[in-house]
């Protein structure tokens, strides 16, 4: 007994002394790089964290600047993480955030990037109150992902996405696939961000004037149930639901499994975006994958366009916690991404991102990104709407659309629930 107690006390004493040394090394490490400058980056595109870390090592070898890349925590919002860092006076030098966060954070925390050379090479940067605050990391778009090989196996013909731009044609193809042995050719993700943030948000984005539409929803003056766009998109959604492989337990579909089925050709279509590539490429994918607009019976041309644009933005900290040297290093890093061949290949080849800058060559992209690039180059992107109330995604995505996905709600009920939600929602100032 005595010995055990003694050994515990010993461990305690030892660890106490370790702590004493440990405390000091923790303090000095932040600025231990002698001659070189050290900057930190918050990466909220967590699927490219590994590539980011490898790049940081190479970058330090080439420039002498030490770059530490931190992975955002997916259990909470990026904005609250950035805010927590500011609250503790320990902000990142460069923060990668979503478009709407740039609008809320820029006034207080972002450095003005107007004088940077890259500014003239992009149309996707974000300017807030005259201050160029957001550097666009990439272009991302939403639509229907397809597996052309799986379709060709059944129809015997090469798949042309343009041939199914209307819902009628699309339904005919689905029936053909079904008759050919593919029981349920569609996959739908059940996550609220997919349903509310990616699918339903198209209802606002594809209006002639999204801002006016959302404002009239907020004012409680919109008759959503008879809105043409709403009904067209819901018609398409109904079809997707009908042919969903997970029908019956649709709200519990697993993202990994759905992506795997598309990759391997068990299903032919899935609603998503080019970021899904990072999931799909983990499986034995077939060669001919691509993206196309959501088929709709419409005349407004939205069935020929993807929805998307600049996605994820860097802003550089303007507070006193960052020294001028660090800030300069951060600006150099952004320039390196846009104008250096190494920086370009990091974006397009290592991370497979569609660049938001017109001077960057992007022929080596993955198939989904190539589709997005093609639509972007042809000017066929419907822009994201960045001023939806903060809880739109959870309320409409989880409480309403997830129920609709499970066929536990009618379309009229959806319209009414959305209208009711907007009556009490807090508008985003802009």
């Amino acid at each position: 007994m005595k010995k055990r107690l003694l050994s515990l006390v010993m461990i305690a004493a030892m660890s106490a002394s370790l702590v004493a040394c440990g405390g000091s090394d923790g303090a000095s490490d932040g600025s231990s790089n002698g001659s070189g400058v050290s900057i930190t980056i918050l990466n909220s595109k967590t699927e490219i964290q590994t590539q980011f870390e490898e790049m940081a090592e190479e970058y330090e070898k080439a420039t002498g600047v030490h770059v530490e890349v931190y992975n955002a925590d997916t259990d909470t919002t990026v904005a609250s993480q950035v805010a927590t860092k500011y609250a503790s006076n320990d902000p990142y030098t460069i923060n990668m955030v979503d478009a709407k966060d740039v609008y809320s954070l820029a006034d207080d925390y972002a450095y003005d990037l107007s004088n940077e050379d890259w500014a003239s090479h992009t149309t996707a940067a974000i300017t807030v109150n005259g201050k160029l605050a957001g550097f666009p990391v990439c272009v991302e778009a939403r639509g229907i992902l397809y597996n052309a090989d799986a379709i060709k196996n059944i129809t015997g013909k090469d798949f042309d996405p343009a041939s199914v731009s209307t819902l009628d044609d699309f339904t005919a193809l689905l029936e053909e696939l079904k008759a050919g042995g593919m029981e349920a050719p569609v996959g739908l993700l059940s996550e609220y961000w997919s349903l509310g943030g990616h699918y339903f948000s198209q209802v606002y984005e594809e209006q002639p004037d999204p801002d006016a539409f959302v404002n009239s929803l907020l004012a409680g003056e919109e008759d959503l149930a008879s809105n043409a766009k709403f009904n067209e998109l819901m018609d398409s959604f109904d079809t997707l639901v009908k042919y969903n492989y997970a029908r019956g337990s649709a709200s519990n579909a697993d993202r990994e499994e759905t992506s795997m089925k598309l990759a391997e050709g068990d299903i032919a279509f899935m609603f998503g975006g080019n970021w899904d590539w990072s999931v799909i490429n983990q499986y034995d994918y077939t060669e001919n994958l691509g993206m196309m607009p959501v088929p709709q019976n419409t005349t407004d041309g939205s069935n020929e366009k993807l929805v998307g644009g600049g996605s994820k933005f860097f802003f550089v900290d303007n507070s006193d916690s960052t020294t001028d040297e660090q800030r300069q290093a951060a600006l150099d890093f952004l320039n390196w991404l846009v104008f250096d061949a190494e920086g370009n290949s990091f974006l397009t080849e290592d991370c497979a991102l569609v660049p938001a800058f017109d001077n960057i060559d992007s022929s080596a992209l993955d198939p989904l990104s190539l589709s997005v690039k093609k639509y972007a180059d042809e000017g066929k992107l419907i822009p994201n709407y960045n001023y939806l109330p903060d809880d739109q995604m959870t309320v409409v995505g989880q409480e309403i659309m997830q129920k609709y996905l499970d066929e536990a709600m009618t379309r009229d009920e959806v319209a009414k629930a959305v209208v009711d939600y907007f009556k009490t929602a807090t508008p985003i100032e802009h």
Binding site: I11, V19, G23, T46, E47, Y70, S88
Partner: protein, 284 residues
């Protein structure tokens, strides 16, 4: 005759209990079995069929070296160890002393402290989270030190540990023993360190396990206090894997296994200690 019958009844009863326990036990460790099965498979096979013993890509050990490397396992293991041990020892010493003071002295200050402590046990951590970092990071600038985290760990676990020691001093430490010691000329500190503390061994072991585990597994507080990579603890490092949209399931399984092994070993060690402690301390 009666004795024989009683013995047989006892045997039957024990057999039934062992069977019930065995069934419950399997249910309790089922998730761990799942981890064990899947740690030797590649991701594609885990998604395709999680309950198969071996997937079509075959058996793999790659998940372990990968996880060790990506987590920087030995470094974060060291951090977790230092923080867990120091915080646990600190909590036990401070809370047992505080509890002793509270139980044996019916002073107003003690009552106030104890009530505050009990009340603090039901404060959701989210309430304190932002104020905590604003004060200690924003105003005092002492985040990013292990010692800060250790103090905070002790601060948050004091209440519960004091509460447990309070109960056990109240019921298990006979006051007559202390009175005898006072007559022998012991002062309060000697009484506490030489008589009371040793009697508390079962509770010490229990608190040690409960707190060590809580510290070992804690994610939220360390992630707020330790923002630098070289200070990361095991849960923060494990989280790096989850952080990815496309989670590498096989790697996570390996990381999970690595993360819980040390605490499992500690538990098995202390588990014997508890039993000994209880038998040794049972002489009243």
């Amino acid at each position: 005759m009666d004795n024989e019958k009683a013995a047989r009844n006892k045997n039957i009863k024990h057999a039934i209990m062992i069977i019930v326990l065995a069934i419950l036990f399997v249910a309790f460790i089922f998730p761990f079995i799942m981890v064990l099965i899947n740690v030797f498979k590649v991701k594609a096979d885990i998604t395709a069929n999680p309950i198969a013993l071996i997937g079509k890509h075959g058996f793999t050990l790659d998940n372990f070296p990968n996880a060790v490397k990506k987590m920087n396992f030995f470094k974060v293991f060291g951090n977790s160890l230092i923080i867990t041990i120091s915080s646990t020892v600190g909590t036990i010493l401070l809370s047992s002393m505080t509890a002793y003071l509270i139980v044996r002295n019916n002073w107003k200050a003690n009552k106030i402290l104890f009530v505050l402590m009990i009340a603090s046990m039901v404060i959701p951590f989210q309430v304190l989270m932002v104020p905590l970092v604003s004060l200690y990071g924003g105003i005092f600038g002492i985040l990013n030190h292990r010692i800060t985290l250790i103090f905070m760990h002790i601060g948050f676990s004091l209440s519960m540990a004091t509460f447990m020691f309070h109960g056990s001093i109240h019921t298990n430490v006979p006051i007559s023993l202390e009175e005898a010691a006072t007559i022998d000329g012991c002062n309060k500190w000697q009484i506490f360190s030489q008589i009371v503390f040793p009697i508390l061994k079962p509770t010490i072991a229990t608190v040690a396990i409960i707190d060590a585990m809580a510290f070992w597994n804690d994610y939220l507080l360390p992630s707020l206090v330790l923002g630098r990579k070289e200070l990361y603890t095991i849960p923060i490092a494990t989280k790096v894997f989850y952080g990815q949209f496309s989670t590498d399931t096989g790697l996570i399984m390996a990381a999970l296994l690595l993360a819980m092994l040390p605490i499992l070993v500690l538990y098995i060690f202390l588990q014997r200690f508890i039993v000994e402690g209880i038998t040794a301390g049972a002489v009243k």
